[in-house]
Symmetry: C2
Subunit: 494 residues, 2 copies
């Protein structure tokens, strides 16, 4: 039985004097977030400022994310590869806007052993330049296209803003897809296809509703022709970018000389895309679903979907453990990620612990349950208690996991929708942002107007909804009053 426990046991229990959070999410979400991440054993600080440790409990979530997304990437024809961590400075400098965007936060290797290096080497902040150097040698003919490659790795961006686990760290884990196409149309299809894969994943697995849209010129990826994004609104009223997909046009194929001999025997520059999501998604998921008791994990991504807690009474321990093991086997057989916590802590202690860790379902088995041939299921998301017969348990757990998954997305979606507002003047704009809302407004998108919005409200343009892009609206700009305008979603942002 000890083995069953070990399957997902984490360290550090004995040291926990205070379990549970000492602050409410609604009162101080920033402190709440830090506490929930550390106390649930998702992450820990490290001696490198701004870098964190992903402990097993969050790394398992990342593994679940990888498993699902990697299968999607492969099903759409992509293959994984691995390119060097270090990028020579001269290579990083090849695309002008790209290096301007990234150079303020590049970590540089300048020495190795006792040697000074002849050229500084950047730790990849993103891999366009090192990958496209290879692509320039690999792509020769239309037969080589499309070239569809993805890489799972970590990247380093030495930001000087306040770090927060998952949401902003100097090193983070991500995937970056890099594709090459023979035509602009095909590249643009790829950009949208990957954005949709991200959107579906974030909504269906992380239960976080997102908006799909296009970044404004001011917010696009450094070096991209344009950037598509999925963003969600967090409970603190800030938008979080959960994934981006860039149409690079020929901005990189020209300086990197990625040309192909087309079917008509003419040499042409290729069209490219890149796209990525990172461990930041985990931060968004925590912020959206967590409550005053701790994490609330969506079942499809939770490392443990159901925890069985035997309610041990003197003299009946053997029977109760045997019964709990039978429940365990029944759930395991149905493919549920289940854990039986038969450690020697009190049942009450275990309730708190697994609530803190956000396990979607708790199954309690005590002497009365055995007598009645039942068990009690407790939902983490609602607290609802459900008594169910032993035989029906496994089926009920499976259906409840599905219900919780849907309910979490719907609740999050409702919350976001309640925090969206259309405004047509700066006062309403300011007021809405102050109340933690995402604002829809018509805007000229001149740099003056964007600047004024930022100064007055702290908000930036998050996206132009995909359906609105390119439509010039005959509506006055919320700032300058001029026409035509574009419909834009604004919010403060992480």
């Amino acid at each position: 039985m000890g083995n069953k426990k070990k399957e997902t046991a984490d360290s550090g229990r004995a040291d926990k004097k205070t379990i549970g959070l000492t602050v409410k999410k609604s009162e101080n979400i920033s402190e709440w977030y830090t506490q929930v991440v550390i106390k649930s054993e998702m992450a820990d600080y490290s001696p490198v400022s701004g870098c964190m440790v992903l402990k097993p409990y969050s790394y398992e979530i990342w593994e679940n994310i990888q498993r699902v997304l990697d299968a999607e990437f492969k099903a759409t024809g992509h293959k994984n590869a691995y390119f060097p961590l270090l990028i020579p400075e001269s290579l990083l400098m090849k695309e002008k806007e790209h290096i301007e965007g990234f150079s303020p936060e590049v970590a540089w290797v300048t020495e190795a052993g006792n040697h000074k290096l002849n050229e500084r080497l950047a730790i990849r902040p993103t891999s366009e330049t090192i990958i496209y150097d290879s692509y320039s040698r690999w792509v020769r003919s239309w037969r080589d296209l499309p070239l569809l490659i993805n890489q799972w790795c970590s990247v380093v961006r030495w930001e000087f803003k306040y770090p927060r686990p998952f949401l902003r760290t100097r090193e983070f884990l991500w995937q970056e897809g890099h594709t090459v196409h023979a035509s602009k149309e095909e590249a643009e299809e790829e950009v949208v296809k990957m954005l949709h894969i991200y959107k579906n994943f974030v909504e269906e697995y992380l239960a976080v509703p997102v908006f799909e849209g296009r970044k404004t010129e001011s917010e696009k990826f450094a070096g991209a022709e344009y950037t598509l994004t999925i963003e969600s609104l967090m409970p603190d009223g800030k938008a979080l970018q959960m994934g981006t997909s860039h149409h690079l046009g020929q901005n990189f194929s020209k300086p990197f000389n990625i040309q192909f001999l087309d079917r008509d025997e003419k040499k042409r520059y290729a069209w490219q895309t890149s796209w990525g999501v990172s461990t930041r998604m985990i931060g968004g998921m925590i912020l959206v679903h967590g409550d005053d008791k701790g994490l609330v994990l969506p079942p499809r991504i939770a490392p443990v979907q159901a925890v069985i807690i035997p309610i041990l009474f003197k003299g009946a321990e053997g029977d109760i453990l045997k019964y709990s093991n039978e429940l365990y086997d029944a759930l395991k057989e149905k493919g549920v990620r289940v854990l039986l916590d038969d450690s020697d802590y009190t049942a009450g202690w275990k309730f708190h612990e697994w609530e803190l860790k956000g396990v979607p379902l708790r199954v309690e088995a005590g002497p009365r349950d055995i007598k009645e041939g039942k068990a009690v299921i407790v939902r983490r998301d609602t607290g609802e208690r459900i008594s169910v017969g032993k035989k029906a348990l496994a089926g009920r757990v499976v259906s409840l996991l599905g219900e919780i998954q849907s309910a979490m997305l719907e609740r999050a979606r409702k919350r976001v929708n309640e925090h969206m507002i259309k405004v047509d003047n700066l006062n309403d704009f300011k007021d809405a942002i102050k109340r933690g809302m995402m604002v829809k407004a018509y805007c000229s998108l001149s740099s003056d107007c964007e600047e004024k919005i930022k100064e007055e409200t702290g908000a930036t343009p998050r996206l132009i909804p995909l359906s609105e892009y390119g439509k010039k609206r005959d509506e006055p700009c919320v700032i300058c009053g001029k026409k035509p305008t574009t419909l834009v979603y604004f919010a403060r942002a992480y």
Copy 2:
């Protein structure tokens, strides 16, 4: 059908003027190795000296390796986590022997953006120090033990020796397990357990026979109490270390202050292990099995296990492709990793290409095969041609894949055994090493004797067989003639 091709299609075909190798393995194995790695599209050079690109074809092998080993690690209670890439210099300095071993090859980050860093940061050459800093906070009580964590990542060792893809690169992919135990015995069990997992994996999946043994003091991991290793003999007569498992004793727990409160309420320093394998294994697999036509991949790890090549004749193309697709579906259904190459290259070109890429089985389907309801299977390892009825094909492919896997290991084992020799004098020692053999000899293991062997023969002590360690033999040392001695395996090494 294009899709079936795409499932494992690689880029760069159109550019290949010369397929096939221009040098024989027996004549110049070093040049042969480089050609086979590059031409089979396993790896490519990069603009960073000593760093390579793992192209999709080798990365798929790495994914297969990860899938199998990761399941083994988890089945033995380990969990994955992720620790920072960068290690502050002061932390790396904490264990004296460790830093002495690694400092000559550490890549240092000294600048970020436009800032000079206050302290140099090492790119991890291995993660003992950064991980044990965390462990010192995580481990408090016997209840927290054993702590069993693994990490998949890349490491950087800025070596100045001649680089070779997979075998020696400045950055490489690996896994590193780091465990903490309450007793020395338990740590020592772990060290052996993980070594066995490595041995079984390398033999059963990569079909490379290895010896298990203990490193001599001169060759052990910097900071370890002792190091266990698996090594194999390559066809060029050099030994290759394929994996190591270190008993760290309390060498790190003391400087890092990893203490736990034991059941008797006394504080004790913990016992630790670390163990790792890397992409270097892929290099060993290539060296052992490849031939003058290119790679020969063991079926259990091959990205493509069988390739179907339609032999197209004018007028019958439709029928042949239809027939080939039926064969494809039959193999797919049996779980074979199969590819149908319906590209418009000639059949002869495709034969060469997939031989170069080492695909274990080729299935040919031409007009006569259709008429007779048959197909021809060709084994990559032996060249044997087998005609088989359509209905029996899938079953036969599956059994052949198993036969090839065993045959490859047996052939490799036979070769290694033929290149092992027991010697009792320096002349025979020199002669054997010259003939590319691994030498067994009794040795005092004094630094003088080790030094003399290295000077005279170029060989170093590779390992003391596990069964021999600790046995003092009443045999004279091959160099100084003194007794007692230890039985040691010597060879030149990668």
